[in-house]
């Protein structure tokens, strides 16, 4: 899988005696494998406050006024793109949406050239969705944009995992100690991977379940050395017993080559979440889905729209969670820039005369 260097990922650690905010030093949100538990919990806390903002008559604050956020989407998306757009607008940022079709990408412009052009036009943060795993890392490494990964190939979808964690915490009250079952096409799922990192970091016990051909091979051959912090169970009726959260994944017909999936009907029979399977889970169990749903395949319509389904809440929470991510990232990047500028000045002006005006 993709390995990333610390320099790209963020955390350039600068020693400091003052109390450090958990996001200090972060420059990008590429995946959650490099997130500490504190950082994730800070997103959840901040998202609570963003939800307060969304509950007011005026659903907008001026926090990111003057910042420009570019949404660059090389893949189709409704909820993620609109959710990022609303999040940025609710924070007062200027938002530019670019779809690959209709842009210079059609003339053959490369991702990096496009990114540099957008930086030249004044973009501060790039929200990127791309079919190639690792594409956001390339932009992060070779431009000075701050990058938020909105889904890259088969690799990661960090903000989806954060909003899933937020929704679980909101509905069940905690994440620590919960048993979470992710069902379906794990092999092609960036949602499954980012969720495993996120939920495991928060103390949940994550299990992957799906057709053997759609599970990551290493996790089948050696449970203990699975490439993601999750267990594997091949039998859904066994795996679903007593779990707190069930997350069926979309069967991604566009990513199938035809050889791995016998038929949609047999998939529904063996791996579809229906009322009988839901009954085997814990009595308070919730059902989540990253959307869009294939009803009757990975999830039955009456479960998808039943009282245990939190699909609608996931969509609603997406805006608050993305507001939290954009706010924290902007603040962290600016803090780093100011620190750098102060460091650069240090030899000239020795310490002492700093203004102490703590309170405005």
């Amino acid at each position: 899988m993709l390995k990333t260097s610390a320099a790209v990922n963020g955390h350039v650690t600068t020693p400091s005696a003052v109390e450090r905010h958990p996001w200090t030093g972060r420059r990008h949100v590429l995946d959650l494998d490099d997130f500490s538990r504190d950082e994730i919990e800070e997103v959840l806390r901040t998202a609570d406050r963003m939800k307060d903002v969304l509950a007011r008559p005026i659903r907008r604050v001026p926090s990111l006024r003057g910042r420009t956020i570019v949404n660059l989407f090389y893949e189709a998306s409704t909820r993620t793109r609109v959710s990022f757009e609303l999040a940025a607008k609710n924070l007062g940022a200027d938002v530019v949406n670019i779809a690959a079709s209709g842009s210079s990408v059609e003339k053959g412009e490369t991702l990096l050239d496009t990114a540099r052009t957008l930086r030249g036009l004044g973009a501060d943060i790039m929200v990127l969705r791309h079919p190639d795993s690792g594409a956001p890392y390339t932009v992060a490494r070779h431009t000075d944009l701050s990058v938020v990964n909105a889904g890259d190939g088969l690799h990661a979808h960090p903000t989806q995992a954060l909003l899933d964690a937020y929704t679980i915490r909101e509905r069940i009250g905690r994440i620590e100690g919960l048993r979470v079952l992710i069902v379906g096409d794990i092999l092609h799922s960036r949602v499954a991977r980012s969720n495993a990192w996120c939920l495991a970091r928060l103390g949940a016990d994550v299990t992957f379940c799906g057709p053997p051909a759609l599970l990551p091979p290493t996790s089948v051959s050696d449970h203990d050395r699975a490439p993601w912090p999750a267990r594997v169970d091949l039998h859904l009726d066994h795996a679903v017993e007593g779990v707190d959260v069930i997350m069926p994944l979309r069967v991604q017909l566009e990513r199938q080559d035809g050889s791995r999936l016998a038929s949609l009907r047999s998939y529904a029979r063996d791996y579809g979440i229906n009322r009988a399977r839901l009954a085997r889970a814990a009595s308070h169990a919730i059902v989540m889905h990253p959307g869009p749903m294939n009803e009757g395949v990975e999830i039955d319509a009456d479960v998808a729209h039943g009282d245990r389904s939190v699909v609608q809440q996931q969509v609603t929470n997406g805006v608050a969670v993305r507001m939290a991510v954009l706010y924290l990232l902007t603040a962290a990047v600016r803090a780093a820039a100011v620190t750098d500028a102060e460091e650069a000045q240090k030899p000239a002006a020795k310490s002492g005369n700093a203004t102490n005006g703590r309170k405005a």
Binding site: H21, T24, T46, P57, V61, N356, K359, A360
Partner: protein
């Protein structure tokens, strides 16, 4: 200060106190209790976090967001903002914007424990506990029992304590 607020507003009708986080909050609650004691009236008292309205997000500090709590709709109410120290006025500017995003109050007034001068905006407080002339390179911090374990106002210069005074009451 609590007496002044009630006097100026001709009673407690439509009055709402809003403490600015962090140290305006316990001060607002003290005013609330003082009014309850001498007026036998409950004045709604809320808490406002204005981090998302600050103009210094880009000045380089990651600030955790805190909860705001408004006990009633502020529309047509007489809002009294309560804060510990009035300095440049930028916090109050942000608070005015924040309050107006919650509704349209009939009026907004400002009560502060300490006014240390050096305004950068055309603002002044309606109620001031104490005017404390200070120089720009001093820091003036209010400590309250509810948060810091004791009540005092500390004026520091270049990280060294120069003067420390204590007020016991805000009413």
């Amino acid at each position: 200060m609590a007496h002044e607020i009630v006097e100026q507003n001709g009673g407690v009708d439509s009055l709402i106190l809003l403490g600015l986080r962090t140290r305006g909050v316990p001060l607002a609650h003290r005013i609330e209790r003082a009014i309850a004691a001498f007026e036998q009236a409950d004045v709604p008292c809320g808490e406002l976090d204005i981090t998302l309205y600050r103009d210094d997000l880009l000045a380089g500090q990651v600030r955790p967001l805190q909860e705001s709590f408004l006990p009633t709709d502020v529309t047509d109410m007489k809002v009294v903002l309560v804060d510990d120290v009035l300095f440049t006025g930028r916090t109050i500017r942000a608070a005015l914007d924040a309050v107006m995003d919650y509704g349209r109050p009939r009026s907004i007034e400002l009560a502060v424990l300490v006014d240390r001068g050096h305004r950068e905006l055309p603002l002044r407080a309606n109620y001031v506990g104490k005017n404390v002339p200070s120089s720009r390179d001093e820091s003036v911090s209010v400590r309250v029992t509810e948060i810091d374990g004791n009540d005092e106002v500390v004026i520091m210069r270049s990280a060294e304590v120069r003067e420390s005074r204590t007020w016991r009451s805000v009413s």
